[in-house]
Subunit: 203 residues, 4 copies
């Protein structure tokens, strides 16, 4: 989808930026010269494709989110069964947490990307598309759960059901950030606990 929207050079620059962020460099601390080195292009080239450093970084973040949401979507759709789909979601989150880039995490948890990188405020509509996609996934998951008789139909209202899924999901992602404090719990137990919460909540 985005692959057709962006030229090869733009994508090379995006990948350079993403690489830097995955190395743990904060978007505010990224220098144009870092990007040029990471993307293996001249500094000037970046300005042939983007109006400013901020635009390049903002679009790189959106590009990454786009890809990740897209990938998450198809991975989850591919899985069969409510539990399998939910676990796949948690695995995706676990993988995202392990790279240093916090985009998907922040998107999932807070809708707070704009605060993370203020220049993203200009791209609000792009972000809402991602949220829509995520809510589509939520609906899909609920449908399967009902079909399989694992969760009760029409429990609570739409807000309740969406809130449950996003709460459980973020709650799980927290585990990763407090691994040092929760050292006695392993990832499988954490997943099981989250699944248990989900089932209780939707019955």
């Amino acid at each position: 989808m985005s692959e057709v929207l962006y030229s090869e050079k733009k994508i090379a620059i995006f990948n350079g930026i993403i690489e830097l962020m995955e190395k743990g460099i904060n978007p505010y601390s990224i220098k144009v010269s870092d990007i040029a080195r990471a993307a293996d292009v001249g500094k000037g080239t970046i300005y042939d494709y983007f109006a400013s450093k901020e635009e390049a970084i903002s679009l790189a973040i959106l590009y990454k989110i786009d890809n990740e949401v897209e990938a998450a979507y198809s991975r989850i759709k591919k899985k069969k069964g409510f539990k399998e789909k939910f676990y796949e979601g948690l695995y995706i989150i676990a993988e995202c947490m392990d790279d240093n880039m916090s985009t998907l995490r922040m998107l999932l948890s807070l809708g707070g990307l704009q605060e993370f990188y203020e220049y993203l405020r200009e791209y609000k509509c792009d972000l809402s598309n991602h949220l829509l996609k995520i809510h589509e996934l939520f609906d899909h998951l609920l449908e399967i759960g009902i079909e399989e008789g694992i969760i009760v139909d029409k429990i609570g209202d739409t807000y309740y059901r969406n809130m449950v899924i996003s709460s459980v999901t973020i709650g799980f992602s927290q585990y990763f950030h407090q691994r040092n404090f929760n050292s006695q719990v392993n990832i499988e137990d954490a997943m099981e606990a989250s699944y248990r919460l989900l089932i209780k909540a939707l019955n």
Copy 2:
């Protein structure tokens, strides 16, 4: 607690920084001259009390979190009854969300302050104290719930119970960030939904 640790001047500078952040200025975008103006001191004075801008901002963030956690702690302790305490917690979150500063939110949701402001990495120990305090609150809440017979004793393990409270809490805070998308739900309904989830999860 912190009041005795910090001189009056340091606190004036902290307040200047906090004021800027509550105005919506990203910590990375704060200039020393902004701080000096907001705190009504000379630029040089800041360097009489802090080694660098980053130190000043990092300590200001910790100072604010410290105060907020402390205040949250005593507000919740003061309330009587499980439901009242939980609702007080949600009210506190609602208030925090409405100021522009995302520190408490990020602390609660992601343990991800370091990524929010990379210079905080040097102060990890300070952050764990805050997490301890929060877990103390969680324990306190659970205890009261059990006493009142609202929730079942020894449901799941410690990890499960803590995960439940933090998931529900963050799930609620999400509401605020997606208010535009959830426009049909008002805050009271959102609180009620979160309470319902909590009860289900702990029974």
Copy 3:
């Protein structure tokens, strides 16, 4: 004359540069990419024909002056009669003033092209050829005036006579630059005044 010296492509580039200058763009502010666009050639092509941007602009300026001096020369030669020739000169100046390019003006008034565009310093000899041509015109005008008995033969020395013509000419060109301040005078009156000065000076 210059038409045979320069290839078609070079002339296209010259015309592009001249067009830019007539639009009011200062030679120091002209970019190679502007020239390429205006001349409708690739940027690289400019370097196939000129060693540097400065050379291209300098030669374009000289090319324009060359053409203008040449054109002025033949227009004035073509006219019959002292007064007619002088008025034709003033008309030419008026036309030059109305385009945004100040080359002829500066050539006439100050010999100060080098200061206008410092890179022209390397082309001093080219400029003196133009000055020679202009002095030829002055001599021609004086000759006709004497023949017609309008001005006195051998009044003052060569310096005086040339100085008179160039003073009167530049004095007229000033009118154009201070049109806002001299709004009560129209161009015909200004011409008449200049002619009156010329006659007095040479009798």
Copy 4:
């Protein structure tokens, strides 16, 4: 006049810029680091006093013109007698021509400072004040000439009289720019010739 308008630091920066221009550096070729070195201040200091390099240079040019016009005014006023005043004017021009900075020259000759340095366009009003001052000088000179009976009262209209003085003046300044071509004429002869033209024109 300007001395009270500008802080010492601003004047130091102006003098640095003027020094550079008198060395023959074109305003378009002046670098901020050149100014800093010439004014013996840090690069940043320039931006404490001016919004941009262009502002600094533009105001420096106006400052210089202001001072020069003021100085010329008082030097000419101080002289007694029509011829002495006129010669003083020519001496001033001669001195101006000998420094490399062409501001006064361009002001006198073309009103064309804006074209010399395009950024001056924003300061047009300042320039008209200088032109007013110059016309005051012209009026003063004419008055004295009439009083002394050297020139005829009410010869021509205002335009004619002003045009005469400015034509003669610029005509003289040309001498300096074509000294190489007029090598046989010395400055005294050039002055005498210009005076002769002036007298003829105004009788």
